[in-house]
Symmetry: C2
Subunit: 243 residues, 2 copies
């Protein structure tokens, strides 16, 4: 059992939690088991020293090559509020091709800053069968621990690609932007990009200039909807229009 | 300027942040100004000692009876991550009558535990003109600081009422429950209660037994939707059906 903060495994896992650069961390037995079931091979399974996971029914039985941290060391890793006793280190997934399918919508996040919103919107993209999620500059990292948790694992099963506004504009698909000043019309069902903007400032001027605005009809009793709520409504509607 | 943690104002505001019992706290100049504009009178306006808010264009100009905390004292109050220099102490609003209107939906939260979800769903109830929000046991407090922030002020302009499952069952309106095992049909537009359940366990057995389940059609690529996303989709749809 590893007890030292100087241990190379501890330093490596801590860096993945904090920096999520070349390596990322998935927290919790179920989330790790789901990732493995989806075909992602962990670099290491990491256990809290007092974790007992040897029941035959466990989704993630203990293995001889598990990395075991003393409880007080394991607990220093946690960005998480929930108590977990298992996490896994993975290589950061490569960018996917978000434009490979034309039978669905591409979701573009334009400066969505909150990792919880980014993760929630990736979960919605999976739920409503989007072709992929384009992440424009100033978005939170989808592989930040909070984003991974909010995505409920969807970061590993939806194509994700960071790109510039120019690359998005050159993709050849018509652009639509969720915007308070648009008409409250149905979103396109397929073959288009649906852009969601920053929590405060909305979609950037460059993309708004190229996009058709779509609003969501509301009572007017609140100034705006949360960006993830807007995504839920428009992506669900688009999915029902093509089902 | 108040500098002591023993000061009665400091203790009182700190208790309101932590316990939100008889008194609650609203954070930030804009949120406080909105609450006052909506007719809520603060018990006290609290400023960070270095806050300057004497411009004629300010929504919330400094007043002689503002309570001023030294910056290091003010910063100890914050549950908030964002930097604010103003907050206000209010009496906890009384319960409203969530059944007063029959031309809209009543939203019931049945054990929604996360204060961010509770606040987001109250914001959605306002956005889509719900008659009110019934809060069943085991829900997070809508007047927790995180819930107030997520509601974007809507906690003060939607009728809210804590109640038991029995009281809800006795309200005389038909019940519908957001549930994965229902048919993916349109929600009712008005004159009904729409129940949303706990993040993990869903709607409680007692209410499910009395409610018609409604599902949201998804791709099946995720196990479930976040409860606030489900509320966004169903409340938006109900609103559009009665507009």
């Amino acid at each position: 059992m590893i007890t030292s903060r100087q241990n190379p495994w501890f330093k490596r896992v801590r860096a993945a939690v904090r920096e999520h650069a070349e390596e990322i961390v998935i927290e919790g037995r179920k989330a790790v088991a789901d990732a493995i079931a989806a075909g992602w091979m962990p670099i290491a399974l990491v256990r809290r020293g007092d974790a007992l996971d040897d029941s035959p029914s466990s989704a993630l039985p203990s293995r001889s090559d598990d990395v075991i941290f003393a409880p007080e060391l394991f607990d220093q890793l946690g960005d998480t509020r929930t108590s977990q006793d298992t996490l896994a280190l993975f290589a950061r997934p490569p960018a996917g091709d978000v434009f490979a399918r034309r039978d669905a919508l591409v979701v573009a996040l334009d400066g969505v800053q909150d990792p919880g919103n980014v993760g929630t919107m990736i979960r919605l993209a999976a739920a409503f069968d989007a072709a992929g999620v384009a992440l424009l500059p100033a978005c939170a990292d989808p592989f930040a621990p909070k984003a991974i948790r909010a995505s409920a694992g969807a970061v590993l099963n939806v194509p994700l690609a960071p790109m510039s506004a120019r690359e998005l504009l050159d993709c050849g698909l018509p652009l639509f932007a969720a915007a308070g000043d648009g008409a409250a019309v149905d979103p396109p069902a397929r073959g288009a990009v649906l852009v969601f903007g920053n929590e405060g400032a909305g979609v950037s001027a460059e993309l708004r200039a190229a996009a058709s605005p779509i609003a969501i009809a509301t009572s007017g009793r609140v100034e705006s909807l949360n960006v993830a709520a807007s995504a839920a409504i428009l992506l669900s509607r688009a999915f029902s229009l093509r089902s």
